[in-house]
Amino acid sequence: MAEISLVDTRNALDPASPLAVRGLTVSYGEKPALFSLDATFPAGAMSAIVGPNGAGKSTFLKAALGLIPRVSGEVQVFGRDVDRVRDRIAYVPQRASVDWDFPTTAIDVVLMGLYGQIGLWRRISGQYKARARACLDRVGMGEFADRQIGQLSGGQQQRVFLARALAQEADLFLLDEPFAGVDAATERAIIDVLKSLQADGRSIVAVHHDLSTVPDYFDHVMLVNLRRIAEGPVRQVFTAAALSETYGGRLGATQIDTLTLQGA
């Protein structure tokens, strides 16, 4: 009893969680984009972040990674400061803000995901090239390996960046809308890849817009709109009430009913 009182449990983020935040507030100007957000994503799970456009989903991922400054709050990745575990995280931004005219090929982009392991100066051996190619194959992009990335379609580009994330062999995958603009067959293929990552014990946190597939694809969900509306296992928190609160009544009641019933 006496020992327990030494630890202030209110102040300890769950060290087992691949991503835990508390009181996270982020602002681009005067108005906050995220306000006092708490979240604890479970290890080894597929977690979704759901909310309307402008809810702060991308902001959440960027702030968690320390890519944008936070006004206040705490972020822990695997119980540690994010700067100390960067090699365990792979991040795929929403519609990568890269230069599409850059002189680089699909395979080259995937190899960038291996820089962390190769180091900044060591030669890229054939073994790494084979791994990069295998990652491209996993997302069905093997035949486009030598294409300049600007000459791929939007969905193909998205898959190349997913392949780069796979190459990183991370323990935590942060994916900002991995299914945006990909066709149904590819979406299925990507989900299979993600599920196999999960089977390997990796954790996935993905921003997801298609409410109808949330119960199918994910175990855990965070509903967000500036604040956290709800967070927990999909079965428990993916409810009509929470959804209508998240979308501010912009979803029809029947729409929500079908969504939540499907998942049950």
């Binding site: 090699d87 931004p93 803000s97 680089t104 960038m112 100066w121």
Partner: protein, 311 residues
Amino acid sequence: MGAEFVQFSLTPILIGIFAAIACALPGNFLILRRQALIGDAISHVVLPGIVVAFLVTGTTATGPMLLGAAGAALVAVVLIETVRRLGKIEPGAAMGVVFTALFAGGVLLLEQSDTSSVHLDVEHALMGNLEQLIWLRADGWGSLVDPVALAALPPELPRMAIVAVIIMVLTVLFWRPLKLTSFDEGFARAIGLPVNVIALGLVATAAAAAVAAFDAVGSIIVIAMFICPPAAARLMTNRLSMQVAWSIAFAVLSAVLGYVLAGYGPIWLGAAGSVSAAGMVAAISGVILLLACLFGPARGRVGVAAGGEAP
């Protein structure tokens, strides 16, 4: 090609080559970052830096000049960030404001202070004095191994050579960070690369190249070499390493061809005298860029079937 060539053409050509390479290398990354004009801007900001360094130290030695220019570049970068944040305007506009103001300040300083006796005049700044960087002590190829003759080399040659070699080494050493931060800054940040330090390092390197070259060959070559060879090289390939290799080839070609044409071209055409080597080098690089625009295999977005299909 005998003694006369070694005496009057070898050193200017070599200096031109080193200057072209030193500028073209960072230029590759600057154009990919849509910062091509920063080369132009740096060669403007270099002016006040050099003038201040001269006023403070009273010499035109490279050390103080480099420090002055690098200092000015740093001041400029800080000012740009400040203007951009406070004014909430785009980087290009902030750059324009800061560099124009600094350049104007440099010109004012030049006029106010009595630097006319030194070779800091504006025409020199523009055109350099490539033709005058000759090696009078040389009397043939044998001079290349003659310590007495070597000691009388124009100091611009070893200076420019050292800067070019340092820049080549830096480019190789920081290849992956440069490539990564130029292509995908967000990803570079996410894997923990010090993106801002690398960006600053690139600008500082470009500034060092600019000031060393500016002193030897004038700012026309500096501006042209930052942009033309890399831009032409981009149209030749869809691989960064090949682009950089092409840019070096184009830079060397411009330097050699430009110097030779400036010296002998008018004579071949039957006219007397010669034209400015700096101007000709820049013009040749422009012609190469034009040809690359018309025939480069990786013109991608302009016109016919994209050139980047798998080979």
